[in-house]
Assembly symmetry: T
Homo-oligomer: 148 residues x 12
């Protein structure tokens, strides 16, 4: 009997504040609710998700490295690190896994420095501006890619 | 008995070549197959889609204008016009409808001029790099937003 | 008895939506009302106006070319094409007629990309931010120039 | 019996040379002639104009400040200060009056540094390239706005 | 008996004005004369040319798409679209044919925005500044490449 | 009996070296001395300060998040993170507290990259170049704002 | 018996409007109130202040030059000249006095051109965004530096 | 008997401090000494000089305008206004006189913003970095040009 | 009997390696073969070519100067000097001869620094990307221009 | 008997993956092998090395600070932090030790953002592109410098 | 009896064409005439000049190196190398002699790339736009500096 | 018996001055001493070095070309040509040999224009800032690579 396929879901800095922080931008859904919803969606397709959040760039990189050989893909919202972390990019590029990048808000409607992403060109694709449902769509796309 | 909700699906220049053109980037799926798949997905949620493709910026703008009052949202892949058409942007901004922007390929992996989008900040959100399934995800997000 | 002098009035993409679109920027006057007002002003000075609108860059260029030898000046609001169309600029430069550029809104208060105009330096002058009356002022200036 | 409405007309540095200076750009009309023409146009609409010229940024700012509460609008050709004076911009923004910016020549046909204006986005609108008649058109637009 | 080889010759916006427009830049040769000369040169090598001109970006793209499978190469002067049309570039890249880009005038002697070409790096090569004879040289190079 | 008001004082990377490091720039005062001085100043106004230093971006973000609901304002010297951390900025923006940014040295006299701050526009204000006394001035301003 | 120490307080263009102008940015305190408050703070430390405001760059430079040898430091809010006056900068650099730069509003939250200061790197330090109290803090820092 | 030829010598902001200010850059010669030396050199060639200094951009412009028709050339050290004053440039361009620009220090060795000059391209030529003797050389060149 | 017309053919640095160097870019034709082919083409039109190659900028400039009065035109492939030599440009501009610039490879497909040419705007025109046949086309265009 | 000299060897984020990650860029040598080789080379010269790797910017900074007074030099490969960490730079500048920067791959052959280093100008020198042997060369240079 | 002081006069590429080349820019004076005039001026002050011209960057550098210890100053017109040669700059910086840079034409009135000089900030000063007399003025300034 | 392996060592402009020139940057070692040291190091590994220096870009390129087929690698310090010579880069790229670039000083601590290298991305790697020993390290790395 084969093991379930696994997806690492990584939430970057400050995403633990979801539902508390600037609700006019991010809505009222909490991170726990998002994670539950992802677990449910994954389960329907026979997948498991491992959801983690950290405010520490180094911790996120550690997790990506540790996931090598243990997960089949990564769904990541790098939050503020999107625009500043080459080290995170390097970890993602090195892990050799399919990656999808998610942003809750439309980064193009915000400050100009949010338009640069060090992650986008090492990911398969990007979903931005669709709020919490964007995670589910990203997960779905990732599972399809893994099953293909 | 109320009318079905409707979504305008717009495909920009050269997307009629899908399945023929540079398959190593875009895959083998044709535009007709994408449109059928969208019609099916829409139907499951009680929506109709009106799918159109043109190589003419003006024709796309005409269609957007004509859709005002007749559709509930727009799903658009502006293709090459993404990076060059303020007129298309103005039409989308003027129509007052929820809009989702889709790109088949990951624009961040291609030429630098593809990183600028005149559409992204008048759309709710953007999905890029997920290939033909990106359309279905975008449609789903748009239908959810309309129903919310 | 000599023929009346003629002015071609060109309205670029989306201006057919005037009165409908983003009224907080453009006001409630429709394009038809602007055209009537221009016809009246022109008539008082013994001029005729030929008012056209198109969402198609190519159609606008065709009209400019066809006007050569038939009109005495061009009043143009290139709308979104202002910032992106070298082809439109080339047509205006080639026609050899006096040209005045009009913008309804103050382009300097809007997005940065609206500050570049491919039309301004092939026109005699520019009027921006004065709303529909800006057209009448532009027409008046053009008629004075033609009569000079 | 109510007081006449009043408009402050400000001419920036070197405009006292009009009619003397580089006539191939500015024509042969003198500043006195422009001011007379403006007084006449204003009078027809029941307005008065107060026309002033200075080569001193500080003097122009003093006049703007002193006009607060005494005039109903400002018509200004900031000349060379257009491109360099944040202090003048701040005075115009602070006075809370409707403002129209006029330039005699088409700044887009001249040196690149003339394309930046610190005034344009604190004014209602801009008229450029129409020579001395541009002042009359600007005055007319300003009076209409005040009367609206 | 084998069919003749065929070359699509595309002239972009405003090139129908050749011989009329700004002769100090473009000379007195008309587009019809250029086309005749190309037909003659082609005939000498056993080729046929199909010469088309349009002011419409969309029409040019349509023609490129329709030429797929029917012609052996494209000779194109994209005129003003050279600097602004990613959609045209995408069509040329997608068609998979050998392409040569021609410009009548030396774009390096004109406005700075004419130095950027969206076409040059999807073409085999570029010929600029040689006037109408540049077309013949480009055709010759294209025929040689096709025969090689 | 009401609780004392509290201010979180955050010192970014390398500030633990104060008094040891490059004294020609930062002087001889140690961080402990600065913190004592702040505690004293705060006490005089009936405030408490909670002073923390870390070389870890993630730890600083954790502290900011944990302070939500427990402190009335933040005084922060983000040191090298000023110029590189969007994640820190996001945490500060999310916490909803009044913030004052302090820099010991005049960042304008140092390397050009020190002129960009990701913190300044989410803070009430900035104090730079005044050495250790700048902290006391910043604290004073923050207490006044909280008491207002 | 020794003379009192003296500080020149310079207010740049438009600051005479404080309390009148854009109160949502600058608050309701007038310049006279700020000056009185500074005189009081100075007196407590045995200092005198000489407060001056001008809309004229040249007058401000004259005052700085005349203060050489007569004052012990300069507190300056250069207002709009901050971003445009090299001559003011040169005067401040030449006078050889300790200088502190104050801005009422947070320049980083306003237009991008307000981020460049010609004054910051010839001053000891800068205080921005703290409103009228920022002047008192700046004065205090300046007096401490002079007494040190 | 013909009148002597006359040259206007203009010294910009802060040059009245020469000999006092930053002697390591400008040396110990005072402005009065420079002016005397220029008067002497001029006298030897049968010229007169009219030497003026002001910290006010407007005053310098007034003097340039008043010199029209009364002097045969202008020798100017615009000091800090070199880099910021379009109004001064416009006055110099308008006066129609031969102009030579002098800088005491080598502007290329100083801050980057000193590399841009609004004066250089309306002057015949520029002399920089040669200290007070640079004025005499500039005067000599100007007299030769006038006599030629 | 009149002398033959002459054309100087200049090959810049490293072109002596043609046929040896990076054949996937430049093909297998040697420089000697190119020169023979040019001599033949020239001879058919009654011209002579003088073909020279050097890796020394100074030698190329010497040859251009020596050709003044002795040749009727210059065909030049400046190779790496295209992008870096103002001195070569100045020599070409000074010689007063018709010039055509040739590049073997399509510079637009290579490194970004190859897009700048100091030669293009002092040449009649440019041919790029057509390989060795590009020389023959350039020669032909040059001969036609000389004969015209 | 004197203590051995000591060198801190710091490996930045993701370098623990060496030998696993993208071997076509970094080769098959593991970090442990590099460290052993460095220990051996150091031992031959009577030095000790203390080799550490972390994915955490803060941990690297902590180690640098703790090394002050305990080691004689630092050999560092900052990996992805090279391009983004001012805090790391500040720690290196503050420690007052001789530093050599090593990169395994040639950063100039990779993405443009890898060309900026915040470390290079606080290090004695840089070695890049030589693979694992680059560490040994850097160590040797560092030991020579310390012994000099 | 002491040896005469000596000045090396270096003329860069294409200056041997003076009097022949583009006389509307450079006038009719030949290089030989300039050199004679410099020899005469030098002789009057008891100096000798050694005048050299080359089109070769390397030859100019060789001459500068050989002049070390043999001349007392360098007067150089680097011509086109001004804007492109770091090697020439390095030679000038290394020789340790006083240097004055001369340009015949006003580089600010020409192409934008002529505004950058690699020589200006290693020279004492620069004289530009004064034609051949500029050399004499530069020589005079250099002799005065050497005698000082 | 096989021939010795050979390495071409190239020193660019002004490096013949080593030991004489700006010793605070380059130290007191002469080029001859460096070359001897390299010969010795090479000999220990059974290699020969051929050391050459020139101030002429063209001569350096000639030597690189002549070395093809005769040497096994190139060690080059391009000095000032590093930042300006595409021709040198092309020669290095064309020769097909392993190349190591050496700089004596840390180019990142010097003028900004020294940060761009046309050589770095055609070399295996770069060593900068280590003074004369950097050559020996570079040679060692090159010999290892050749022997591998």
């Amino acid at each position: 009997m084969s093991a379930k396929r696994r997806i690492l879901v990584l939430h970057g800095p400050n995403l633990n504040l979801l539902g508390l922080r600037e609700p006019e931008i991010y809505g009222a859904t909490t991170l726990a609710e998002i994670n539950e919803s992802l677990a449910e969606s994954a389960g329907e397709q026979g997948f498991e998700v491992d959801c983690q959040q950290s405010n520490h760039e180094g911790v996120l990189i550690d997790w990506i490295q540790q996931s090598m050989g243990r997960v089949d893909g990564i769904l990541i919202n790098p939050a503020g690190l999107t625009h500043t972390s080459v080290a995170l990019r390097d970890a993602l590029a090195a892990c050799g896994l399919p990656i999808i990048e998610v942003h809750l808000s439309n980064v193009h409607m915000r400050e100009p420095f949010r338009r640069q992403s060090f992650v986008s060109d090492v990911a398969l694709g990007t979903i931005a501006g669709l709020g919490p449902p964007g995670y589910r769509l990203g997960l779905r796309a990732l599972m399809e890619r893994i099953q293909a």
